[in-house]
Amino acid sequence: MSVHPTTAEIQTLTVGMGEICVARKPDLLSCVGLGSCIGLVLYDPIRGWAGMAHIMLPSSSSRGSQGKEKPGKFADTAVFGLIAELESRGALRSFLRAKMAGGARMFSFSPTSSGAIGEQNVTATREALRIAGIRLEGEETGGTKGRSIVFSPETFLMEIRCVGQESRLI
């Protein structure tokens, strides 16, 4: 980590499956290879902190307590985990904004009648944001391709990259 402002190194924090990471400028937040998983960012435009969760599954309630789970593993707990991290850094919940990407259907196969896990993750994340009262500012979800994302807490932009495609910004 840099201590001298004029020679600041930019660190990119890669958020592993089920994890939550928090950063502010000049650092960046990243998820690699989001298939059915969701990369969810909550950011505080006022104080400049942003948190990213690598969400794996829709709901923590479906299987009861399985012991200590990673905070970003489920859509519902990830949203509240992100809020807690940002509030502890001075954010006011009503000013928080969200962006999300992922939730693809990598293969055309659905083991449950409720649909593929990617779609369930998208629905669960949107619902958790709605319940928390957080506005979703940008979203790129669904499709059949994996995504890697990089979010800048400075510009509030999320860069999305798919194999074989130009990167996009939301």
């Binding site: 592993g16 499956m17 089920g18 690699v32 290879g33 989001l34 298939g35 059915s36 998983c37 794996m56 599954l57 479906s62 299987r63 399985q66 990673k70 593993k73 693809a104 990598m106 293969f107 055309s108 196969f109 083991p111 449950t112 593929a116 896990i117 990617g118 059949t144 391709k145 994996g146 995504r147 890697s148 194999v163 074989g164």
Partner: protein
């Protein structure tokens, strides 16, 4: 799983993989080496990087077997190895250049070979278990390993914290200073192993 069940599963995978290796070697016209299959119990948080770096671009061909032993099969190769396999297939089938570069040709060739290879796998297992194990039409993806491995979340996410797969590596020995290698994953649905072991009397 007790040691007896583990052995039974490895044996099933071994027989399947042996036939898969033969099918691949017939497609390629050269010898294929096979590693002894492993049974992997993978914590769900670790699936993205378990079989390789999550950032690696891979060809992945996925197929389902809906049957009394429901399983999924995935055939995975690094992008360059998949490109090589497609190239060999085009050569073997004497596909002219102008056709082989049409969009989707590589996907079709790899999809078809994946289908043949996994078909051989599952047909051998079906013979062993005296079950009919049909395969679905395969689904192919060229993507990052981390994204492809999310399929294990799809299969196991609602049932526990761990995914189970048997894994076999196939390779060409000594292919111009670089080995081709591919993996076949046999992924039983949660619960299907218990049923199978009961049927086999391996409790």
């Amino acid at each position: 799983m007790n040691p007896l069940q583990m052995d039974a599963l490895k044996e099933i995978a071994n027989i399947g993989a042996g036939h898969a290796a033969t099918a691949l070697s017939q497609l390629m016209g050269k010898r294929v080496d096979m590693c002894v299959p492993q049974v992997d119990l993978i914590p769900l948080e670790a699936v993205a990087g378990y079989f390789g770096e999550p950032e690696t671009e891979v060809w992945a061909i996925f197929t389902r077997c809906e049957s009394s032993f429901p399983v999924s099969l995935v055939f995975i190769m690094n992008k360059s190895d998949g490109d090589l396999l497609a190239e060999k297939l085009f050569q073997a089938a004497r596909i002219p250049d102008k056709v082989r570069f049409l969009p989707g040709m590589k996907e079709s060739a790899l999809s078809e070979s994946g289908n043949m290879i996994m078909g051989a796998f599952v047909s051998a297992v079906g013979d062993l278990l005296r079950k009919n194990l049909p395969l679905s039409v395969p689904s192919i993806s060229l993507d990052l390993m981390g994204a492809v491995m999310d399929i294990l979340l799809e299969i196991f996410g609602g049932f526990g914290d761990t995914a189970l797969a048997t894994e076999t590596e196939l390779s060409f020995p000594g292919e111009s200073r670089r080995n081709f290698s591919a993996r076949i994953l046999l992924i039983p649905d949660p619960g299907s192993l218990e049923i199978l072991f009961r049927q086999l009397g391996v409790e």
